[in-house]
């Protein structure tokens, strides 16, 4: 079997994890652990042009990344059972196309496997950009089985200090074990009906 590092051109992995112990001076009822894992890999499509078929490399590389990133996420957050919300992201270096980022995160070869490994059902929300090394990317997370669960709408920022280089891609999976620190903006079940007719003051 070909060595994973070489097969996907892996240069480094960066794990970021945090927990909020106090927010606005008070401890959260359920302190949530959040984590992101970023893989810096060689962009397999650099200088290939927009007519290039991305499907072969995407089917080869994306499943390897899905396994690698979710293994690290699960280990750092105490198990797939603990994970409640998830998200994904990619940063493409300046010699690549944003389509290259999409090829690695927006197809079943990545998304379906990440969902399966993290035991989720929702569509996975995402962010992507093309940037210089060291750019911070804000990754949205939402609930892995009930995406509209408002308490779990949150973000985590990910950054690799020396990546991506122009010919590299950073692919990221992220997750949280719980909601925002002090969620209190209701939910779809508790919302009143809001339309232009129910509001006393309608923005114009």
């Amino acid at each position: 079997m070909e060595h994973t590092d070489e097969s996907i051109g892996l240069r480094k992995l960066v794990l970021y994890r945090d927990v909020v112990l106090t927010e606005a001076g008070e401890a959260p009822a359920r302190p949530a652990w959040r984590a992101s894992v970023a893989a810096v890999i060689r962009n397999p499509w650099v200088a290939s042009g927009p007519s290039t078929d991305l499907s072969l490399e995407q089917a080869r590389i994306a499943p390897v990344l899905a396994k690698l990133l979710t293994d690290r996420l699960i280990a750092s957050l105490g198990g797939a059972d603990e994970i409640e919300s998830f998200g994904k992201a990619a940063i493409v270096g300046t010699a690549g196309e944003i389509e290259h980022a999409g090829a690695l995160i927006h197809t079943p070869y990545f998304g379906n496997l990440v969902r399966e490994f993290l035991q989720g059902e929702s569509i996975i929300c995402f962010a992507d950009t093309r940037a210089e090394a060291g750019e911070s990317l804000i990754i949205p997370l939402w609930h892995k089985t009930h995406a509209a669960t408002r308490s779990h709408y949150q973000t985590i920022s990910a950054r690799v200090s020396d990546g991506p280089r122009a010919d590299e891609l950073v692919v990221i999976a992220a997750a949280s074990t719980g909601p925002r620190p002090h969620p209190r903006i209701g939910d779809r079940m508790t919302d009143p009906v809001v339309t232009t007719e129910t509001l006393e003051v309608v923005p114009s």
């Binding site: 060595h3 590092d5 070489e6 892996l10 240069r11 480094k12 992995l13 960066v14 794990l15 970021y16 994890r17 945090d18 927990v19 909020v20 112990l21 106090t22 927010e23 750092s76 911070s136 920022s157 950054r159 200090s161 020396d162």
Partner: protein, 183 residues
């Protein structure tokens, strides 16, 4: 001690200079975002009561955490104090430049040398580099390295980020001649 957030960052380098490493190189950092114990008190002449109240607790919190995150014996280490804009760098130095803080890490890592440090004041989200040196012999050149960290929403103006860093090896692909060859 009021800790707002604890952040862990682990880098695992698989290739450097275009060559794969024999085994991945690991570096870990654990940072505590705390309220500056001297915030809002004007110029405090005697920092010792605050040091006594917090420095040992911080060392005890961070030392085992960074070694857990590294998942390997530490060969190099370093520390950081990043002070929010309303504080003095002296406040950060007070918390980390004392045996009460550093000895927790030295004991846990079986280390002997002084911990190299970065002390800096900056805005929320400031980037800082933690210097690391060998844990028993600070002249071992292969282990001189540094690690870049950024926490997106810390330190607030009234906060201090206190961090420890540990590396399981020297620089990836290190190949400089040792200091002794030049003496």
């Amino acid at each position: 001690m009021s800790v707002r957030r604890i952040v862990t960052v682990v880098e695992e380098i698989h290739a450097e200079g275009g060559r794969e490493l024999d085994r991945p190189a690991r570096i870990a950092v654990v940072a505590a975002v705390i309220e500056n114990p001297w915030a809002g008190q004007g110029f405090v002449e005697d920092l010792n009561p605050g040091i006594d109240a917090h420095a040992s607790d911080l060392g005890a919190l961070l030392a085992p955490a960074v070694l857990d995150a590294l998942e390997a014996p530490a060969e190099a280490y370093g520390k950081a104090a990043i002070v929010g804009l309303d504080g003095e760098i002296e406040h950060g130095s007070a918390l980390i430049h004392t045996l009460k803080f550093g000895d927790h890490f030295r004991k846990a890592a079986n280390a002997a040398t002084l911990l190299p440090a970065v002390e800096k004041r900056g805005p929320t989200g400031v980037v800082f580099d933690i210097p690391l040196k060998h844990i028993t012999d600070a002249t071992i050149r292969s282990h001189h390295q540094s690690f870049e960290v950024r926490i997106s929403d810390a330190p607030h103006p009234n906060e201090i980020v206190v961090a420890l860093a540990a590396a399981a090896q020297g620089r990836p692909q290190q190949r400089l001649a040792p200091l002794s060859t030049e003496q």
